[in-house]
Symmetry: C2
Subunit: 243 residues, 2 copies
């Protein structure tokens, strides 16, 4: 199968296991002529590319190194330059896919590229293929429900623990990212709220031997892992209201 010429795809490849790619993503990765794999300047390899490495045959692979600093101007310039190049590929009739770990629309740098491509190619040629997000794989590994009945689910960075405390009052399940050095304070907060036993920590989910799954957050001493961790807190449950 050939991909439609001149189309651009933002493809989520899931959390890391090659078999958590969807059939649609696999087919498009096989069919596109150009694959873009993002790699942060602090990483040695593109995680997204590693997921699909066994599918690579004759596709041109562009490893795109993007800045990790929070300089909006530098970030925008970096993605604009990539978009210029990819729009040229599309104009020349090639099908292009940008690979993203997880889902392209959930905390992904793919969104910056999507915005730039939207200014360069017709809307009907721009597509997003959803992928399994890390929090879904983490919940699956721990075999715990995320939401049932009237439950509310919140995904948020744990940048402010005051906001985490507020969120615990407003949802039944809380998914936290970017914990890092705040892990001891988070453990303290969850303990005071009586929900530490209902929290699970997962790092590098579905990434083979790197995967870490903890049912007791106090076991994690390594704060470098803390920055990559997803914590899921099942704080409560809201039943259906009587009709």
């Amino acid at each position: 199968m050939n991909a439609p010429p001149g189309h651009f795809y933002l493809i989520g490849v899931g959390p890391g296991a090659p078999d958590l790619v969807t059939l649609r993503a696999a087919r498009l990765i096989d069919a596109c002529q150009v694959l873009v794999a993002p790699r942060s300047e602090k990483s040695e390899e593109s995680l997204a590319l590693a997921v699909v490495r066994d599918r690579l045959v004759a596709q041109q692979v562009i490893e795109h190194v993007y800045p990790m600093e929070r300089d909006p101007a530098r970030t925008a310039a970096c993605w604009a330059a990539l978009a210029d190049r990819l729009a040229e590929d599309c104009a020349a009739g090639r099908a292009v896919a940008h690979l993203t770990i997880g889902d392209p629309l959930i905390y992904s740098t793919a969104v910056y590229l999507m915005a730039q491509m939207a200014e360069r190619i017709p809307a009907e040629r721009l597509h997003v293929v959803p992928g399994i997000s890390a929090f879904q794989a983490a919940a699956a590994i721990t075999v715990q429900p995320l939401t049932i009945q009237e439950d509310r689910l919140m995904l948020m960075p744990a940048t402010s623990l005051d906001e985490v405390a507020l969120a615990l009052e407003r949802c039944e399940t809380l998914v936290l990212y970017k914990i890092g050095a705040r892990l001891p304070a988070l453990i303290d907060l969850l303990s005071r709220r009586g929900v530490l036993n209902q929290a699970r920590l997962v790092c590098h989910v579905e990434q083979g031997e790197r995967e870490v799954v903890l049912s007791d957050l106090r076991q994690l001493a390594d704060t470098r892992i803390g920055y990559m961790a997803t914590v899921i807190v099942r704080a409560g449950h809201r039943r259906w209201e009587p009709r």
Copy 2:
């Protein structure tokens, strides 16, 4: 390939398109001897089964009709009876999979069966395979980010509009289910908050001709569709804090 004998899988098959199934789900569906497909007593066919119909060869298919009423005793008895039967299949060395539309851990009746199976088979034989959830596919269709940088994402039923109003203050992106007859009041709320233009409504996403995508909620007159709709409100954006 054969699936490991005596193992039980809760498999998410995604929102509806056969190619939004993951490779892992497809392989296990092909390899299990027994497939359970849930169907509500108000539906003519199992949506989950329809997604994988082209994969069916020699698997035994059990269509499990479950009650839609909110009677906890009747619901529990219904799932317990199914779990008894499936645990017998596992004990006899068969591999069994229960299919779920979307993700098994996000607003799915699969969780009731999971709890019952956990009482009947060893934990190491109970597996969850995540699936693309409808909200991810809806975001992909509308080509809009769910979260970037410091954004918070909330998934909730729109049972109480007072709670929806509160949630709009506590997150940047809101995913709403079970809207139904509350749609006019929801439109009014979003309009008063100045975010109606940032709301999208999607029904039956990735279900072929049944799919409905609206960028103006006021176009939806059919409240029967309203009950099946997912509304995504992109209410704001939180940038990174300066370091």
